[in-house]
């Protein structure tokens, strides 16, 4: 199997989106698209599976809520009950309105932070990681589509040029994918 791929470079997100649809319609395999900002509808056009991060977020929220219930109960009821504002803390249920802000904040805190961390891990991003994008200008103002080649190099290059790419070049991937 060859390690050759084609890099088609675009300078407009609308043109890119149409190109992605054309390439998909012509049954070519898009390996990856690099963009400087999120392009609305690109995931659908590329046929990526829908994200499951919402489910993860819900579960993180439930975890946060459980931790907060344990935390408030342990601190305020079991370990060191205090009489605050004439409301002695001997019963969790009777004091729960006072804890609701904490329950709410902890739910949000867990859902938000764990969701970001999950997203980074799932995208294989961590500190000091070497950038994977093949061309630094995709973080500035260019869009790059990586298309796999299977014995149709010439045809594919002309096809991609017709989709509005400002530059099409063949790229040899070395070893790592």
């Amino acid at each position: 199997m060859s390690n050759k791929v084609i890099h088609a470079i675009y300078d407009d997100d609308d043109v890119l989106l149409h190109a992605v649809k054309d390439v998909k319609a012509a049954n070519h395999h898009i390996e990856e698209v690099f963009t400087p900002f999120p392009v609305h509808g690109l995931d659908k056009a590329m046929g990526l599976a829908p994200t499951r991060i919402a489910i993860a977020s819900f579960m993180f929220g439930c975890l946060g809520l459980s931790v907060a219930i344990w935390l408030t109960n342990h601190i305020m009821i079991e370990d060191w009950p205090q009489n605050i504002g004439g409301k002695p803390s001997f019963s969790y249920l009777e004091n729960v309105p006072a804890f609701v802000p904490v329950l709410f904040e902890m739910t949000i805190f867990f859902a938000a932070h764990l969701m970001v961390i999950t997203f980074y891990l799932r995208s294989r991003l961590w500190p000091f990681k070497k950038a994977e994008n093949p061309m630094p200008s995709t973080t500035d103002d260019k869009f790059l589509m990586e298309v796999a080649i299977s014995d149709n190099e010439k045809k594919l290059v002309t096809f991609l040029k017709k989709t509005g790419a400002i530059e099409v070049k063949v790229h040899e991937k070395n070893g790592e994918s």
């Binding site: 919402a54 819900f58 504002g85 004439g86 409301k87 309105p97 006072a98 609701v100 802000p101």
Partner: protein, 460 residues
């Protein structure tokens, strides 16, 4: 053009007839003197098991601490120091008269709750519509005619509420205790509020709010229809400016409306975020009703350009405003619960003791249920989920309005009897009749709107 289907018309008319009959019976069966009232309560308790009788007895014994009597039985708290001596003799007869007033209030309060609830659906829709206009939103253009149809109920709805307020002002009922001169004479707190809470000023304010809202509704509808016949954007701009002005007027008058028409039934009690709380309730009901009527019209083959994304957006608003309502409900509750100041906390004590199931049940209906069912993005695009969540939200917010009015007007004598169900049916029938008649008047697509193309192609 939409045609009002025969079945729906029949449904709305039969709702009105059955509702009016039930309500009439409710009024006729209200007691006219103390003996009848006592007999009714005795009958109701005779059927209960021994447990109910015991709780009733202990309740009567605790009567001195029974805070919801504060409002009506004015001597109860202003003469707190001489309480024990004077109260003992006057206790039985004043309690019986209080009971009579509560039972006489019941059909009136039931009508008032239903009238307010349906009026607030139209008012909330008008506010939502004005927000779309002022924001020049592109997605919602195709729903404008539906919203305008719902706001057609504003005029009859506000007139009915106004008539009920006038009848209260004429002392035909005891919904607003501060209108009763005998009560005020013994109540220093209400005396101090007399410059604001007096019948002529109260009715003048009501007239002012109602006129303002209906003027906006009239002109926005007029410009909206005029836009269909023109190519330019002059009416669009006019509607934009009008909506921005109306929103300022609305948020002030809505807040004052909630103090006047709802909070003043408990004239000792006040909450500074009450206007927002009522607003949250009315806007979530309004968005829900917009979504349900849109889905109904779509299921009948109208509104063919409205797609899943429009429903999805309405679903997001239903979800978001439900959470917003809960936030305000809880903020109000927690501050009062924590500070535990007697004149404030009576409000919640009455509700938790006498309305426990309704008071907490509505939080489940208005928060937990929509939160869980509408959280998933795909469910918000599914008509069935929107309708199911919508029915629960609408019922939940009816209970919310019920909980605002009933504890102060009928106390622990509440029930869902003929007058409650009858008045809901009566106003539901009227609401359906007025709204769907208004929908038949003009084409359902505002084709002259400069943003209508954006709405047609709206995809999330």
């Amino acid at each position: 053009m939409y045609t009002f289907s025969k079945n729906l018309k029949f449904l709305s008319l039969s709702f009105m007839v059955v509702g009016a009959l039930a309500l009439g019976i409710g009024f006729l069966s209200a007691p006219s003197n103390v003996e009848e009232a006592k007999a009714m309560v005795a009958d109701a308790h005779g059927g209960h098991d021994s447990h109910a009788v015991t709780t009733h007895d202990s309740h009567a014994a605790d009567h001195k601490e029974d805070t919801h009597h504060d409002n009506h039985n004015a001597s109860h708290d202003t003469h707190a120091d001489t309480h024990d001596e004077t109260h003992a003799e006057g206790h039985d007869s004043s309690h019986d008269e209080h009971l009579l007033h509560q039972l006489q209030n019941k059909p009136w309060a039931a009508v008032y709750v239903a009238a307010l609830f349906f009026m607030m659906i139209a008012l909330g829709t008008l506010a939502f519509y004005a927000i779309q206009r002022a924001a020049q939103a592109g997605w919602s253009i195709l729903l404008f005619r539906v919203m305008e149809g719902i706001t057609a109920y504003l005029l009859p709805g506000t007139i009915i509420v106004f008539v009920l307020l006038v009848l209260s002002g004429l002392h035909l009922n005891h919904i607003f205790v501060w209108m009763d001169a005998d009560v005020v004479a013994h109540d220093e707190i209400i005396q101090n509020k007399q410059s604001y809470l007096n019948v002529p000023f109260f009715l003048a304010r009501a007239l002012f709010y109602i006129t303002g809202w209906n003027l906006y509704r009239y002109y926005s509808r007029k410009f909206s229809l005029a836009q269909d016949g023109e190519n330019g954007v002059s009416y669009h701009k006019k509607n934009f400016r009008l909506a921005a002005g109306f929103l300022v007027f609305y948020i002030v008058t809505e807040s004052m409306m909630s103090w006047d028409w709802i909070m003043s039934v408990d004239p000792h009690w006040f909450s500074t975020l009450f206007g927002w709380y009522v607003f949250a309730s009315m806007i979530v009901t309004a968005v829900t009703v917009i979504a349900m009527i849109t889905i109904y019209l779509k299921s009948r083959g109208y509104l063919e350009d409205v797609n899943d994304s429009h429903i999805h957006d309405l679903g997001k608003f239903m979800f978001g405003f439900s959470v917003f309502w809960t936030y305000l409900w809880f903020s109000q509750f927690m501050l009062i619960w924590y500070s535990n100041i007697p004149e404030e906390v009576t409000y919640f004590i009455t509700r938790i003791e006498d309305y426990n199931f309704l008071f907490f049940g509505m939080v489940v209906m208005n928060f937990v249920f929509p939160l869980l069912i509408l959280m998933n993005s795909d469910y918000k695009r599914n008509n069935w989920f929107i309708i199911i969540a919508g029915i629960v939200i609408v019922l939940g917010h009816y209970i919310d309005v019920y909980n605002m009015i009933m504890p102060a007007t009928v106390g622990d004598q509440w029930s869902f009897g003929l007058s409650e169900i009858g008045s809901v049916l009566l106003f539901a029938g009227l609401f359906i009749y007025v709204v769907f008649s208004a929908l038949t008047k003009v084409p359902l697509k505002p084709k002259g709107d400069p943003l209508v193309k954006e709405s047609e192609h709206f995809v999330y």
